[in-house]
């Protein structure tokens, strides 16, 4: 039901208390977007605007011996070719750690690589020209002399003593480790009648927003103010961080977030090339625009979910799950991402494994290691796909081992619908879940028995049909508990008292949420 008021003088149904709840209300920005009248950062132009293209390291790990840009600088239309040392004069490095992830470490990261490139795709020079095409032409004739260094690529050997340490100051390649031991895991495995182990391997993904990352930074040297137009999920965070690293007051930085062509968590981080764009505007005293191209997006947007997880489950012949144990390993590239860090995903895997089931016996080790690959961090459904695949894979393997139907083993172990409130072994608090009601409904909807008998019949004709069941708890939005935690500031860090709501469409109808606030 769509409700609109034909006459704004008269109160509509939506003007009554709580009247938005459960109603479909019109999204205010659809007409604009459907008529090609949206305003994405990619669409924006400002007077004297320069376009930046980044020259990126072709090596996973290399020392930068020399950069010769003399020929590129002579190309008509080229405004500047800037290196890491040049840019360090206007922007300070950062370290992607948060205080609530104890022991997490990372090394100082620069907007443009200085002396050394640590992954294939790290920007080593910025070429600014009056069009992107000219900047790309110029980038092709910048000559960089590299000395290739040994690269750490395999997360399984990253912690070996013979592997090179990517950041000597850190002592090793271990960014973060979390150990969790709840209940009586050893006793539970000892009492198990069957124990099943498996390795789960997940490849890197990325979010692939249809509009690539885009930023337009406009430093006005006369007013000493920076205006950043950016497709971002966290404009207040951008304001705070840009000010911090450009040595400005928050009040000197304004962040404008217009339409955003998809985010999915890809645009909740601040990338080195975006920092470089803010800094270039300050250095060159003019608006600078960066829009990643598609290949650049695949190579430099955060990757996610590169995990190798050893899992173990103990079970009785009656189907009782006795314990879960995991040893999760993930490689995050050479730096923990800024500012929300690259330890969140593994942390969430440790939080979520075993979630829907009754057993209180759970042990987890999660290790996060550095490697010479593109940065990895969390995006949509942080950690959930890993945790769900591992948990449900183990439950299926246990069911197969004891010869029990995969639905039956779940029915015997899911937390009872009358058990709430309760908490998982990792400490997640659950309220009013209904796994059994949901499972029963699903069995009816899919006609589980009918599908099983059809599956058996088809098998005789050599047609192999699969039926998969997974239980799953999705962590809902913890609001400020996530966005303000551990020093990840979102607003008013200077103690001033103001509340400004400035979000735009990213992917999930933010305009509608604003209309309801």
């Amino acid at each position: 039901m769509t409700i609109t008021s034909p006459n704004p003088e008269i109160l509509s149904e939506l003007d009554r208390p709580n009247s938005y709840i459960g109603k479909v209300v019109p999204r205010p920005n659809l007409e604009r977007l459907m008529q090609g009248r949206g305003l994405y950062v990619s669409d924006m132009e400002l007077p004297r605007m320069g376009h930046v293209v980044f020259l990126r390291s072709p090596y996973a790990h290399a020392r930068i011996i020399a950069i010769d840009a003399s020929e590129a600088r002579r190309l008509p239309g080229v405004i500047a070719v800037v290196t890491g040392d040049d840019l360090a004069a206007v922007i300070t490095p950062w370290v992607g750690v948060l205080s609530h992830l104890k022991g997490l470490k990372s090394a100082p990261q620069h907007a443009l690589a200085i002396e050394r490139a640590c992954w294939q795709g790290e920007a080593v020079a910025a070429i600014v020209a009056n069009s992107r095409a000219v900047a790309e032409d110029a980038a092709e004739i910048v000559s960089v002399e590299y000395q290739e260094l040994e690269a750490v690529t395999d997360m399984r050997t990253a912690l070996d003593p013979q592997s090179p340490v990517i950041h000597a100051s850190l002592g090793d390649n271990l960014a973060f480790e979390r150990n969790l031991d709840a209940g009586a895991v050893n006793a539970a495995f000892a009492d198990s009648e069957e124990v099943v182990e498996a390795d789960f391997i997940f490849g890197r993904h990325t979010g692939a927003t249809l509009e690539p990352r885009a930023v337009l930074a406009d430093w006005n040297e006369a007013e000493r103010r920076l205006t950043i137009y950016q497709g971002t999920q966290a404009p207040h965070m951008v304001q705070n961080i840009a000010a911090l690293h450009l040595r400005l007051q928050d009040s000197q930085v304004r962040v404008v977030c217009k339409d955003v062509g998809g985010s999915f968590g890809i645009k909740v981080h601040i990338y080195a090339d975006e920092m470089a764009t803010y800094a270039l505007s300050k250095l060159l005293r003019r608006p600078i625009k960066f829009v990643a191209d598609r290949v650049e997006s695949f190579n430099t947007d955060i990757h996610a979910r590169d995990h190798r997880c050893k899992g173990r489950i103990g079970v009785k012949h009656d189907g009782t799950i006795m314990a879960f144990e995991i040893d999760d390993l993930t490689g995050i590239g050479p730096y923990s991402m800024y500012p929300r860090t690259s330890a969140i995903e593994a942390n969430q895997v440790a939080n979520l494994v075993g979630g829907p089931y009754l057993t209180k016996n759970y042990r987890a080790r999660a290790r996060v290691v550095f490697q010479n690959k593109n940065v990895m961090c969390q995006y949509r459904a942080v950690g959930h796909p890993i945790a769900c695949s591992v948990t449900e894979g183990l439950v299926d393997l246990a069911a197969a081992r004891i010869g029990m139907d995969p639905v039956e083993i779940r029915r015997r172990n899911l937390i009872g619908d009358d058990a709430y409130p309760c908490a998982s072994p990792s400490g997640l608090r659950f309220e009013l879940l209904s796994h059994h009601a949901a499972l029963n409904k699903l069995m009816t909807m899919m006609n589980y028995e009918g599908l099983r008998s059809e599956q058996a019949q088809l098998r005789t004709k050599n047609i192999h049909r699969g039926i998969g069941i997974a239980s799953f708890i999705e962590v809902t939005n913890p609001s400020a508990a996530f966005y303000g935690v551990g020093g990840a500031r979102i607003s008013s860090p200077d103690g001033s008292f103001s509340a400004i709501l400035t979000t735009r469409l990213t992917a999930v109808a933010h305009g509608l949420r604003e209309a309801r606030v």
């Binding site: 769509t2 090609g36 949206g38 994405y40 509009e211 990213t506 999930v508």
Partner: protein, 161 residues
């Protein structure tokens, strides 16, 4: 690289004279020279469909065709189709079905959908899926888009939605 080449063409019913570099593609010509930014650039490889426009009646990827090839051509973009009212009904159903979220794919999606609806009065869902298979949407999951195109087809054929 050779210098600019003169072209004259019709864009959304307006005569346009321009000098363009031979390497300039139509998407960049529309966006950067004519400021018709409703045509979006998603991949610049012809995969994503965000840059779909109509050239001489056929839909094309504007990132895969050069501006110099279009001397004498007639080009229509999302701005043209919107202002003429040609797809007003399709847009209304997209709105009612919430067939867009971030909106970045939407202009290309509308161009491709209108192309199908002009070719075939009442396409079934499979046909709609096939015709839109070159237009990526990362937000919606497509169901609402297919619903909107199917509903528009039925309305145009005089049925109730």
């Amino acid at each position: 690289m050779t210098g600019p080449v003169a072209i004259a063409l019709d864009i959304n019913g307006e005569r346009v004279d321009a000098h363009v570099l031979p390497r300039l593609n139509l998407a960049d010509f529309l966006r950067e020279h004519l400021k018709l930014t409703g045509t979006h650039v998603g991949c610049e490889h012809g995969f994503c469909g965000a840059c779909t426009v109509r050239v001489n009646g056929d839909i094309v990827r504007s990132c895969l065709i050069l501006a110099v090839q279009l001397h004498g051509a007639s080009v229509q973009t999302i701005e043209g189709l919107s202002d003429s009212g040609e797809i007003a009904d399709l847009q209304a159903v997209f709105r009612d079905r919430n067939a867009l979220q971030c909106g970045y794919c939407t202009p290309g999606m509308l161009m491709a959908a209108q192309d199908l609806l002009k070719q075939q009065p009442e396409p079934d869902r499979e046909r709609i899926r096939e015709h839109l298979s070159g237009n990526y949407c990362r937000c919606t999951g497509y169901q609402s888009i297919i619903d909107a195109v199917e509903t528009t087809a039925r309305m145009r054929a005089g049925h109730r939605p």
